[in-house]
Symmetry: C2
Subunit: 128 residues, 2 copies
């Protein structure tokens, strides 16, 4: 719950752009997964999402907020900080995400194979 997010949470892995199933924009799904275990500060999110520049992370967060999937709270007590957390609506998205994730894990190899043979076939068709 209050465990910090590890920097290699999405290491190497997560070629989300290759996945035919997408939730929101490019990084939205990863953001949501980061918030699964409770509210997080902007700087906390930046740790596992180090490949995402602040601008793009903010874009993603704003977009999720706009859709009512996450809630942004500015705390002014003691030290000023901003926390992001899943709304009930955002939480409800975890189910279809899990199903999609299961499908991807199950068929990932098949998908890559299909692409490779398709690309090989079309390349042959072009050059020879």
């Amino acid at each position: 719950m209050r465990k910090p997010l590890s920097a290699d949470m999405f290491d190497e892995l997560c070629p989300s752009s290759l996945n035919p199933i997408r939730f929101g924009d490019k990084w939205a799904a990863l953001v949501i997964r980061c918030l699964e275990s409770g509210p997080r500060r902007y700087s906390e999110l930046r740790v596992p999402l180090s490949r995402v520049t602040p601008k793009v992370l903010t874009q993603s967060l704003r977009s999720l907020e706009r859709d009512g999937l996450i809630k942004r709270t500015v705390h002014t007590d003691t030290t000023p900080r901003v926390e992001y957390e899943l709304t009930p609506l955002g939480h409800s998205l975890l189910e279809p995400m899990a199903v999609a994730c299961a499908w991807t894990e199950q068929h990932w190899d098949e998908l890559l194979d299909a692409r490779e043979s398709y690309d090989n076939a079309t390349r042959l068709h072009q050059t020879g």
Copy 2:
């Protein structure tokens, strides 16, 4: 099964670009739904997808074929024709799609409301 696809299959409806959950490119999910009931010819697909230009439809079909989700068959017997049909892999995608679709139907209003109030709030913040 052999019923023709109706032209208003996706009429009015299906602002898929607003849906946070997406399968493949802009039209892929609709193409898949068209193929649910069996193989279809290119010209058959163009009926419900009349808003999609031939180039874009071809792009979508190629992309789905590349991922091994659909199979393209050129028939040379009697009358030449091209048929597209779901592969087993493509068929397996129907389950996560159904889950995603259920989520969207269930939360669509909530989503639109969230956007509207967010946009109103930010607009107020800008002008006033």
